[in-house]
């Protein structure tokens, strides 16, 4: 669990995500806090996502597809929303062989891959090293669900 410094953060209204992206899936939504300032890493990470658009097909030598422009746009939007949440750290920026932007996090105990699909949905794979019963692989439009995973480990 992240330690929250109340002088740096304030509770934000996660109902926004719940209402706008509700999927009907049941899970515990934690209280989340928004940073008062944009984190240092966010601009550089967003620029890195933009550069994925310059890749030609087969950039990995194994037949990877060009990264889809809509995936790039949705990924930048998702990361800007995630970046202001306390506890969400700088992700690795990558692209899948299918041409989707993929954001990755790891803390030694768990890993999370978040693929941004060109229709705005997010395919995520959460793996818990210590307890595989907590592993989740799913697709969602609900950024709140992603935030819940990224702020609870």
């Amino acid at each position: 669990m992240n330690t929250i410094n109340s002088s740096e953060a304030f509770e934000t209204n996660i109902e926004t995500w719940r209402n706008s992206h509700a999927t009907g899936e049941a899970f515990v939504r934690p209280t989340v806090y928004a940073r008062r300032a944009v984190p240092d890493w966010l601009v550089e990470r967003v620029q890195k996502i933009d550069r994925l658009g310059q890749l030609e097909a087969n950039w990995d030598s194994y037949g990877a597809r060009k990264v889809q422009p809509l995936s790039i746009q949705y990924a930048k939007s998702a990361l800007c929303n995630l970046g202001v949440i306390v506890g969400v750290r700088s992700p690795t920026i990558s692209a899948t062989p299918d041409g989707f932007v993929s954001l990755g996090w790891g803390n030694g105990e768990a890993t999370m891959d978040l693929d941004i699909l060109p229709d705005g949905r997010m395919a995520f794979s959460y793996l818990n090293e210590a307890d595989s019963s907590k592993d989740i692989e799913s697709t969602t439009s609900d950024l709140g669900r992603v935030i819940a995973l990224l702020t609870q480990w």
Binding site: L55, S94, D135
Partner: protein, 138 residues
């Protein structure tokens, strides 16, 4: 001649990783030092039959990188990660020989009727990988 249908547990498998100059990040630090491939680099494309790898006993890391020339790509900056057949099999996946004219050691890592090659599998496989140092690219 070493048979292609008899792949031993202790054999090393190799896979290329694109250079850091290309925007997507392909490696992350290993917990015990060095680097490993990211899980995304071990993913299959939609419709892809299996993950392309090469048997180190038949194709060296240097040869694997030189194959890039056939695709009009420069090997400069590319890296190679390595893991064992035993590690692949420990996940329930199979290593199937798929020799190519230009790469005798080419294989595919595929799922079975019991175990599918899922994203979870690609993550677990990535954990096994170790990126070779420039001195090991021979």
């Amino acid at each position: 001649m070493l048979g292609t249908d008899q792949i031993l547990d202790d054999e090393f498998l190799l896979r290329r990783l694109h250079p850091p100059e290309i925007a997507p990040e392909s490696v992350v630090p290993r917990s015990d030092g060095g680097f490993r491939a990211t899980s995304v680099r071990m993913r299959l494309r939609e419709g892809e039959e299996g993950l392309s790898v090469t048997r180190a006993v038949l194709t060296s890391p240097r040869q694997l990188l030189n194959l890039l020339l056939l695709q009009n790509l420069s090997p400069a900056g590319w890296r190679v990660c390595r893991f064992t057949v035993e590690e692949v099999r420990s996940l329930g996946l199979m290593v199937r020989p798929d020799p190519l004219p230009e790469d005798a050691g080419h294989c595919l890592i595929v799922g079975t009727s019991e175990v599918a090659y899922t994203k979870k599998m690609s993550s677990k496989l990535a954990e096994f990988t170790r990126v070779l140092s420039p001195q090991e690219i021979i």
